[in-house]
């Protein structure tokens, strides 16, 4: 009577998703689907200018429009001490502008009305008198002598610098460079992008004066952080705040920060004593909410003639917009940029980082990324290819020579991370075999003789996913652990709640599979709930691929606590001592008599009906999990492309992905995550970026200007796997949601560069738009498009 784990939807089952049952019927419950009795509607008036002093705001015409209930400006917010709010990076951000506007799209006023059309009309009736100021649109302008001061609201802020930061060993790195046979150099820009979930942000604040309770439905990936932030910002008691994150139409990091719209809707509900709904439009989402990337990267690599890397220097100049609101662990100013080169055995490394304010939207969110890891790995793999080219070495061989070897784990990286597992060489071999590497090189040579430009690009990387541990990782001082609560009912059915928040990753499906694996309860008998701070245990939410590494581990641990109690109940039911009890999936039995046993369901029934003397009744528990380390998935992505020299258009011929994310809970969902990530990688390599004109106007403020790939452009993907279990995770799993977004872009760009390098081209900045590639092919020059950079760095 052994239970077949796959049949009960346990680990390894490609279980069809539970959440799909409502989504395919149009029965999802997204923020805009929530309607409360008496609800009012809020619209935000945004600044048309990137940098301007506000002379005056005249709201009188807005008040005259029938159906308008409230008009809020920064001065009114200030009477409640809410004109400014703290960010997740110890800075401040304007909720509604009082003194100046500092980026195009900044929140200036808000109207609350009977319906959203009236609120929009009233916003148009508000007259704002601006005195335009010069706009700063890149960090080099921001650091120039005599640059206008953006943050004149702050004390002790004489210039536009956000931070200077460094990590690594400068002296050891200098010595490595002194010993180098060859020094390779590379400079590039990782352009600003926007995560752009299809659903924009929104909130419905509902303050009930009779109970003093504030309920806020909100598009947030981290409801508990928001609850704490609201308690601190609005000075409301935390137990009187309930944050409910309903179904999210995508997040990708965009729904982590606290946005002014949330705060304004809360105050509006307190003032009107009515529920107030704010639904952002797409332009508002693209021009004001958390962007990703926008980093200038410069680096050098010290090399020995035999191909070994001796040391790496990196310097980053990051553009944080008008407010430093990166959502990232507080200890690391440029996120985990120093995870770069973690898969290579490099003796020394040093990173310097400068962050600057500009007149652009704030953010710097981890866009499908574990805190700047995307920029780090892109630079790493572009640098590696440049170094291999400089040495005249095969790009695969150069990687193999420098990989951390399988028997070298645990491995301390030059920047201080501890990687713990992997089979890097094997992953590379699987990828090369799948793409037919040797044959492609021959085909490439033949094609080149006929004037055709074929290229192959490799990207291999390990990345840190799943913050904490809590010793090193916190947001605003709150440690980055996570939690799960499991209640097993009398009949053996169960409800599981976690502190994470699914946005398409399928937690409702996979968490139940972990419980099924640990307890033998069929996954269909377990319901999963997340996102309601009144019912879910405290957790740090879902971003940076931390759900499976942290909350998923908590799910396994709470199930083990349940099993430990069930074992005592089993001993009682079987009338033997606990030491004589054995466990197999779903069942305890007497060691000497395997036929004598009780199921987990027998134990749950007894937990409520026949408890041993002295035992607490019931079968429920909570686990808080603080991971001992990050998880380190590895990936090898290989793209082949053909570049049309006449037009600069490049087509993906094949894209092979080899992912090692440890044990896969639900292979179908893992593959879905990888394909989604590869598409975002292709998007960034080929078309997707947010740029600004010299006046700070956002070019890319809607889907006509901000290009996202459709089914037509997106290439097909070929997926392969290698499994190296995580040594410290209770079920051996590692993060996966972001690997392809992080590692993928370099594979595409390296492939295009490989196709054109014989023409003398070393770098074209992303996105590789046809005109840029065409220019590179016809001139033989790099198209880096970088504004002038510091000459003294690194």
């Amino acid at each position: 009577m052994t239970i077949d784990e796959i049949k009960i939807g346990g680990m390894g089952a490609s279980r069809r998703r539970v959440e799909d049952n409502r989504f395919i019927r149009g029965r999802g419950n997204y923020i805009d689907d929530v309607a409360l009795p008496g609800m009012l509607h809020m619209e935000i008036l945004r600044s048309p200018l990137a940098h301007a002093r506000i002379r005056s705001i005249d709201v009188s015409k807005a008040w005259e429009i029938p159906g308008v209930r409230l008009v809020l400006t920064g001065d009114m917010m200030a009477t409640r001490n809410l004109a400014w709010m703290p960010t997740l990076s110890y800075d401040t951000q304007a909720v509604l502008a009082t003194d100046k506007v500092r980026f195009q799209g900044q929140e200036v006023a808000a109207v609350i009305a009977d319906d959203p059309y009236i609120a929009k009309d009233a916003c148009e009736a508000i007259m704002v008198d601006y005195e335009p100021l010069p706009a700063i649109v890149n960090p080099m302008q921001a650091m120039a002598d005599g640059a206008p001061l953006i943050r004149d609201d702050k004390e002790n802020q004489p210039d536009n610098k956000v931070f200077d930061w460094d990590v690594g060993d400068r002296e050891a790195t200098d010595r490595a460079f002194a010993e180098a046979d060859v020094v390779s150099k590379l400079e590039l820009h990782y352009p600003r992008s926007h995560p752009s979930p299809l659903e924009p942000c929104g909130s419905i604040a509902d303050f009930d004066r009779s109970t003093g309770k504030l309920t806020v439905y909100m598009t947030t990936q981290a409801p508990h952080i928001i609850r704490a932030a609201v308690a601190l910002v609005a000075e409301l008691p935390e137990h009187m705040i309930r944050i409910i994150s309903p179904d999210l139409g995508g997040g990708f990091g965009n729904k982590v920060p606290v946005y002014p719209g949330y705060v304004i809707s809360i105050l509006a509900s307190i003032l009107t004593e009515r529920p107030v709904k704010w639904i952002e439009d797409k332009t508002g989402n693209l021009i004001s909410t958390g962007f990703g990337r926008d980093v200038y990267l410069q680096g050098q690599m010290a090399l020995r003639k035999d191909g070994r890397i001796l040391g790496v220097r990196m310097h980053t100049i990051s553009d944080h917009g008008a407010f430093f609101s990166d959502a990232q662990p507080s200890k690391f100013k440029i996120g985990l940029m120093h995870s770069a080169f973690a898969c290579y055995d490099i003796p020394s490394a040093h990173l310097t980082a400068t962050g600057m304010y500009t007149n652009k939207a704030p953010g710097g969110v981890a866009y499908r990324c574990s805190f700047r890891v995307t920029e780090a790995m892109f630079f790493q793999e572009r640098m590696v290819q440049a170094a291999a080219d400089d040495l005249g070495m095969d790009q695969a061989e150069f990687r193999r020579v420098n990989f951390v070897r399988d028997d070298d784990f645990p491995h301390r990286t030059a920047f201080g991370f501890l990687t713990d597992s992997g089979q890097y060489g094997k992953c590379l071999d699987v990828g090369l075999e799948a793409i037919g590497y040797e044959q492609f090189l021959k085909d490439q040579e033949e094609a080149r003789k006929k004037g055709r430009l074929l290229g192959i690009g490799i990207s291999t990387m390990t990345e840190p996913l799943g913050a904490g541990n809590s010793r090193e990782y916190d947001i605003l001082g709150i440690k980055m652990f996570d939690s799960a609560e499991l209640r097993v009912h009398m009949t053996g059915k169960a409800i599981l709640r976690t502190g994470a928040k699914t946005q398409g990753q399928g937690h409702e499906t996979t968490w139940a599979q972990i419980v099924a694996h640990e307890l033998g309860i069929p996954a269909d008998d377990i319901v999963v709930e997340e996102g309601d701070t009144d019912t879910a245990p405290f957790g740090m939410g879902t971003y940076a691929s931390r759900s499976t590494p942290v909350a998923g581990a908590a799910v396994a641990m709470v199930a083990r606590k349940i099993r430990a109690k069930a074992r005592k109940i089993a001993a009682h039911l079987l009338e033997v001592s606990e030491e004589d009890i054995e466990w197999e999936l779903g069942r305890f039995y007497v060691r000497s008599q395997p036929d004598r046993g009780v199921t987990i369901q027998d134990c749950s029934m007894a937990a409520y009906s026949n408890v041993p003397d002295g035992m607490e009744p019931g079968l429920e528990n909570t686990a808080y999990y603080d991971p001992p380390n990050l998880t380190w998935p590895f990936a090898c992505y290989i793209a082949t492309v053909e570049v049309d020299p006449e037009t600069g258009v490049w087509d993906v011929l094949r894209m092979v992905a080899v992912d090692d994310c440890g044990v896969r809970i639900n292979p179908m969902i893992v593959e879905g995550q990888i394909m989604g990530g590869l598409t975002e990688a292709y998007a960034m390599a080929s078309m997707q970026f947010i740029t600004f004109d010299a006046d700070g106007n956002c070019v890319g403020s809607n889907y006509m200007d901000y290009l996202l790939p459709t089914a037509w452009e997106t290439p097909g993907f070929e997926l392969h796997e290698v499994v190296t279990p995580c040594p410290h995770h209770p079920i051996g799993a590692k993060g996966i949601g972001e690997c392809a977004t992080v590692g993928g872009p370099a594979a595409f760009v390296n492939a295009v560069m490989d196709a054109v390098k014989h023409l003398g081209v070393r770098n074209v900045d992303m996105p590789l738009l046809p005109d840029r590639v065409h220019q590179a092919v016809t001139t033989g020059n790099d198209v880096s498009g970088m504004p002038p950079v510091r000459t003294d760095a690194p």
Partner: protein, 174 residues
């Protein structure tokens, strides 16, 4: 309480309305609406059919795709008054009481959705394709769905989902 709330305007709303009659998922429904009301908003707020999502407001993302007299249209950039006297089919009309539409089954079976936000529009576009072309190639599917954006899946499984549905529909058509 501050004085802010006391300044609230409570002037009654007085706007001209127009009566429209639309067949929605086979049922005739009437509404008195402002002429500027968008079809997507009438479906969502007026008729409570919140399965039709709005994503971009500019006819690019396709989350709001419904079938208008059988053809896929983006309901976020169509006025509700334009639908007067016509028929509209939304995601809520796909399944019968007892049975899912093959397109719905295909999306679940082939993991053609993640966050689910694009899914209703994607499925309506797919249904329109399959009614016109019961045996589409991969390229034909990708082209037919190129007016609908998905940020999660990378489309490959959506293509497989539509093929799954096509297979099932052809099999049951015998």
């Amino acid at each position: 309480m501050t004085s802010l709330y006391e300044e609230v305007s409570v002037t009654p709303v007085d706007v001209p309305v127009r009566r429209v009659t639309i067949t929605v998922n086979g049922e005739r429904r009437a509404a008195d609406i402002e002429p500027r009301l968008l079809l997507a908003h009438l479906l969502r707020q007026g008729f409570g059919l919140t399965g039709t999502h709005t994503g971009c407001d500019t006819t690019n993302c396709g989350a709001c795709t419904v079938l208008f007299d059988g053809r896929p249209v983006k309901s976020c950039t169509m006025l509700a008054v334009q639908a007067d006297g016509h028929s509209v089919e939304t995601v809520e009309g796909l399944a019968s009481a007892s049975e899912l539409h093959p397109v719905q089954e295909g999306f679940k079976e082939e993991h053609g959705l993640q966050c689910g936000y694009c899914t209703p529009g994607m499925m309506m576009a797919a249904k329109a394709l399959l009614e016109e072309n019961p045996d589409p190639s991969e390229d034909e599917i990708r082209w037919a769905l190129s007016g609908n954006l998905c940020r999660c899946t990378g489309y490959q499984n959506i293509v497989k989902a539509v093929m799954w549905a096509a297979d099932k529909m052809r099999a049951s058509a015998g």
